[in-house]
């Protein structure tokens, strides 16, 4: 982390309300960083999905566990970390929600959406064994289109699904 990086970190309760809280917090950072409306929507949605995953799958809705949200604002991009206290998971094991047999599944689209809406996305195993989602979006160019798409992730893009 360089001296130009701004860092924000918050520990959230494992409860539904944390999803909205995390989304609102990151939206404020994204707006202040100059992202336009479309990118703010994508960032907000991705944060929601990351925290929903941590809440439901990672921490299995156990209130004694916490969700750790961190945002780094570098000169180039906004990086978001969402870490849970669960058992972790392998991205390759996540079913493809676009596969014919999964289209009527009532869950399993969160990771797909984060991949679709952010420029970079990865899941690593945290120091204490939980899953840590790390995703980023490139900052809009100075003086660029405020409402345009600054990065590559976007609603028109169908991301490659590895699973």
């Amino acid at each position: 982390m360089t001296s130009e990086t701004k860092h924000l970190e918050v520990t959230l309760q494992t409860q539904v309300e944390s999803v909205n809280l995390a989304e609102e917090m990151c939206l404020r950072v994204a707006e202040a960083a100059g992202f336009g409306e479309d990118d703010c929507y994508r960032i907000g949605m991705s944060v929601r999905e990351g925290v929903i995953n941590a809440f439901h799958y990672g921490n299995q809705e156990k209130p004694e566990k916490k969700i750790h949200l961190a945002v780094d604002l570098t000169p180039d991009k906004m990086i978001i970390h969402v870490k849970d206290e669960g058992k972790g998971f392998n991205l390759a094991d996540v079913p493809d929600p676009l596969a014919e047999e999964n289209l009527l599944s009532t869950s399993g689209r969160g990771i797909f959406l984060m991949r679709a809406f952010m420029d970079e996305f990865d899941v690593v195993t945290g120091q204490n064994g939980g899953a840590e989602v790390i995703m980023s979006k490139k900052l809009p160019a100075p003086g660029g289109e405020a409402n345009g798409q600054s990065g590559q992730g976007g609603s028109a893009k169908t991301p490659h699904q590895e699973a």
Partner: protein
Amino acid sequence: MALHATHRDAGRVTVVDLSGRITLGEGSALLRKTIRVLLDDQRHLLLLNLGDVDYIDSSGIGELVSAFTAVKSRNGDMKLLNLTKKVHDLLQITKLFTVFEVFTDENTALRSYN
């Protein structure tokens, strides 16, 4: 904005007018309850008007799919009306346009149940 749901009869079809956000928590729960009540009331032909739904997350998508399969399991049908751009794009990238019948005109949608 919390989700609001009202319904009205249009011949054999029940139109469900939704407004707000369908997201994890109250939004998804209200949609689930609304569909369950309608199905229990023997209303099996549903048209969900999403014209005032400006936001759906993965939980909301899951709830829509769940509603669709519940209606189908009763030999009914559930279609969607008036998608906002964000919801339209979301259904497109998740390939759910291949599952749901989507309309932009209510009369056309209602005629399609015949």
